[in-house]
């Protein structure tokens, strides 16, 4: 009887098992030099983490609307306005075989809150500034305490920065195995271990890595046996590697190359607008740019729809304000913060006595897709209202320089709330304010307090509308567009970027990727 059952079972398994290993080969434009989700919110790092690491709280990434669901935490509740408790799933394994404990969870957040290295400090500032302490109540319960009531608990515990990492493994990587030292984090960045459906093998910093299916994963098994990522920085070489069948998927395809890929019968293109804004900002502290009428005029002179048509084939999204559909109830397209009005621009410049002046505009040659082309087009648009652009092309970041006048930048959505995108850059503690290019007034700080920590949606919406009205008047920044990110792939691959993710995530988890041959 037993034997028959076993044979039946074996036969069924053989029938179900795929006849060949499913291996995906991906060429990316860039890869990070170290991999640690807790200290990295770069665009290159964002691609990598989700396949190998789990946050406490998961989300349905295929849906536009935010729906949280259990991750490493099976349940969670706000026990007081400033206290949040999570129950941990039993038996979740790290890739090194260790079981996730409450101690690992506490450690994963404490390294950020205690700023174990300056990079953790940066993540703390952008994500967990309100977190006071994290403690293990018992073996399966972890308690988070905040300074002020935290309306964004679930959102923050869903970020890849809040991924769970193994304490004992990290402590043992260098120096004293019982103590966690900064060098342990450097070593972890080269040999990362998480709990996700794929483990990271053969990581060559900045060059390549291989995801390997993790057999002990607690959730839905990885659909691929392996996925190999390698860096091919040259766009033409990436496209050739795809056409030649050396890789199945390529990232960062600029709009003017889409036709080349679409013309090949074996290939196709997938894409989506990314929750990220390309922006132009002004150094309001530079005396030349101090008059807000000048900044308003330079913003109004830019025809963003024309940029979209010419550079993005109309596929980008030109927003009326700094908002994303991913915000859910806080999505506010009805606000009108940015507008095109060259006639008004001329008037304002005349009033300000700014006609015939030159304004420096800085851009990196390649970092932002179409960044240089957009700058050249904006130069013409400014010329049309009587301002000469002195275009400076340099990979150096000049945003904090005293003599900077204007430059481009990107504002990604770090998490699905205005606090996680406009806030990380432009709130009173945001990088632009601490960087010194804009000094908003006291009232602005008060607006942000109301917006950030209120638990009432209507209050938050009203506060954000006030913030945007102030930004419109002060004009420290102009949102250009949400770029359209394109990927080239072989026809047999079913993959596309999911709307619930932050920008650039390469999600190869169950349900997100398949080969249809």
């Amino acid at each position: 009887m037993h034997k028959t059952l076993l044979i039946a079972l074996a036969t069924t398994t053989m029938l179900v098992a795929p006849s060949h290993a499913l291996d995906l080969k991906v060429a990316v434009q860039n890869l990070p030099a170290t991999l640690d989700p807790g200290k990295d919110h770069s665009n290159t790092g964002s691609q990598i983490y989700y396949n190998a690491f789990d946050p406490l709280i998961e989300k349905d990434y295929a849906a536009d609307k935010v729906t949280f669901k259990p991750g490493i935490a099976t349940e969670w509740k706000q026990v007081e306005p400033t206290v949040f408790e999570v129950k941990l799933r039993d038996g979740v394994k790290f890739h090194n075989g260790a079981t996730v404990t409450a101690e690992d969870v506490v450690f994963s957040f404490e390294r950020i809150i205690n700023e174990a290295t300056p990079e953790f400090g940066s993540v703390k500032k952008q994500f967990f500034n309100n977190f006071e302490k994290v403690e293990a109540v018992d073996a399966t319960t972890v308690r988070f305490t905040t300074f002020k009531p935290e309306p964004l608990f679930e959102t923050l515990l869903n970020t890849s920065e809040g991924s769970i990492v193994p304490k004992a493994y990290i402590a043992g990587l260098s120096g004293d195995p019982a103590v966690v030292e900064p060098s342990d984090f450097d070593a972890f960045g080269l040999a990362p271990v998480g709990t996700g459906p794929y483990s990271i093998q053969n990581f060559q910093p900045g060059e390549g890595l291989t995801y390997v299916k993790f057999a002990d994963y607690w959730g839905d098994m990885a659909p691929l046996d392996s996925a190999e990522l390698r860096r091919i920085p040259e766009m033409a070489t990436r496209i050739t590697a795809l056409a030649n069948g050396e890789v199945d998927l390529i990232t960062n395809v600029p709009p003017d190359q889409l036709a080349t890929i679409e013309a090949n019968p074996n290939l196709k293109v997938e894409g989506a607008v990314t929750p990220l804004f390309h922006v132009v900002f002004f150094n309001t502290e530079n005396p030349k740019m101090a008059d807000k009428r000048v900044r308003q005029a330079l913003s109004m002179a830019i025809d963003r729809n024309l940029l979209n048509e010419a550079l993005w084939l109309g596929k980008a999204v030109v927003p009326s304000t700094h908002t994303y559909p991913q915000y859910g109830e806080l999505y506010m397209p009805e606000l009108n913060t940015f507008e095109y009005n060259p006639e008004k621009a001329k008037e304002l410049l005349k009033e300000a006595g700014f006609e015939g002046q030159t304004v420096r505009y800085d851009t990196d040659p390649v970092y932002y897709t179409n960044g240089l082309l957009a700058a050249q087009a904006i130069k013409e648009m400014w010329a049309a209202v009587g301002v000469t652009m002195d275009l400076k092309v340099d990979p150096k970041w000049t945003g904090d320089d005293k003599d900077m006048e204007s430059r481009n930048w990107s504002n990604p959505m770090y998490f699905a709330d205005p606090a996680g995108s406009f806030g990380t850059m432009w709130s009173p503690t945001g990088a632009r304010i601490t960087g010194g290019s804009w000094k908003p007034n006291e009232a602005y700080t008060e607006m942000w307090e109301r917006f950030r920590y209120s638990t009432d949606i209507a209050t938050r919406k009203a506060a954000y509308a006030e913030i945007m009205a102030y930004v419109k008047d002060e004009a420290p920044v102009l949102v250009l567009y949400q770029p359209y990110e394109s990927y080239g792939m072989t026809k047999s691959l079913e993959w596309k970027p999911l709307p619930g993710h932050i920008p650039y995530v390469l999600d190869f988890r169950a349900g997100a990727v398949a080969f249809n041959d």
Binding site: T240, A241, W409, T434, G435
Partner: protein, 306 residues
């Protein structure tokens, strides 16, 4: 001979010291590493903390002293970007570049010298003209153009060769050819001209007069004398090949030293860049020493006392 070696080694050391000093200060003059390495627009406080973390806020001379004492104790530092030993990073990448170099060198010498001889001997008929025409085209074509055209033909259209990467020896075929092309063309030209120069010399007439077969006259008498300029040009080309490697590795996505040095330059990853420049300078110094020694081996009139 010993005297020559000692003097040349001392001279080479002096060159390397100048390189170490120049590269240390030049890299720092070119900008603050954190302006290039951190994501654009990171907050100023974090940037300042990172500068302190890496000790980049200390006086330049102090940083230089730490670097030099580190060099003498065999510690060339940790990459600012990858956070691991610079030596490990180079050890990982050196094999690819060495392989690329060796293939290109062998290819250009093995093909270049015989083609040069053929061009000299056939200087009055179409074969010689054809060889020289091809050599001129090879010399004049920028290697990035050659690389892209080869990828277009052999990868994109014919699907014969992989376009990028370094997984198999086949991956090195196109990069090696591209790297070898200008050197091959130079060797063909110089071999031909040097040979033409000696072919009309009296001692060759003597060699023929004493009944030696023509191939022996060429190989034993003519070629040996023609070899000096050819060796010189190979030495010069090896130094130039380092520069070309940068481009070839970028186009073919070969993980080698050239690609690494360019990336380190863009990121201002000082420790990686410094070690790379020193390594390349050392290579050039060694190659020119070897070339000098080869002169003596080839031509008994050259004495290594100068």
């Amino acid at each position: 001979m010993l005297d020559f070696l000692t003097r040349r080694t001392l001279g080479s050391l002096a060159t390397l010291i100048v390189v170490v000093v120049a590269v240390f200060f030049a890299t720092r003059l070119s900008g603050n590493a954190m302006d290039y390495m951190l994501p654009p627009g990171i907050d100023a406080e974090t940037k300042a903390a990172m500068v302190r973390h890496f000790g980049l806020d200390q006086p330049l001379l102090e940083q230089f002293w730490r670097y030099v004492t580190g060099l003498f104790s065999g510690d060339v530092g940790i990459s600012l970007f990858e956070r691991r030993s610079v030596v490990t990073i180079y050890a990982e990448r050196l094999p690819n570049t060495v392989m690329l170099f060796s293939y290109a060198l062998v290819l250009s010498v093995v093909l270049g010298v015989p083609l040069g001889i053929a061009a000299a001997l056939n200087r009055r008929n179409p074969l010689g003209g054809a060889i020289m025409a091809v050599a001129f085209v090879g010399y004049a074509t920028p290697n990035f153009v050659l690389a892209i055209v080869m990828i277009l033909i052999f990868s994109f259209n014919l699907h014969w060769l992989p376009s990028s990467g370094d997984a198999t020896p086949l991956h090195f075929l196109m990069p090696s050819i591209v790297l070898a092309a200008p050197m091959l063309a130079e060797i063909v030209r110089f071999t031909r001209n040097a040979l033409l120069d000696v072919l009309s010399q009296d001692y060759l007439r003597t060699a023929r007069a004493k009944g030696l077969p023509e191939w022996l006259v060429i190989v034993k008498h003519a070629l040996r004398n023609a070899a000096i300029p050819v060796v010189t040009i190979i030495g010069l080309q090896v130094a130039g090949m380092v520069a070309r490697c940068v481009l070839v590795e970028a186009v073919f996505a070969t993980k080698g030293i050239g690609d690494l040095v360019v990336f380190a330059t863009m990121q201002r990853d000082y420790p990686v860049l410094q070690f790379g420049v020193i390594l390349i300078a050392a290579l050039v110094v060694v190659v020119s020493l070897v070339v000098d020694l080869l002169y003596a081996a080839i031509d008994p009139r050259v004495k290594v006392t100068a």
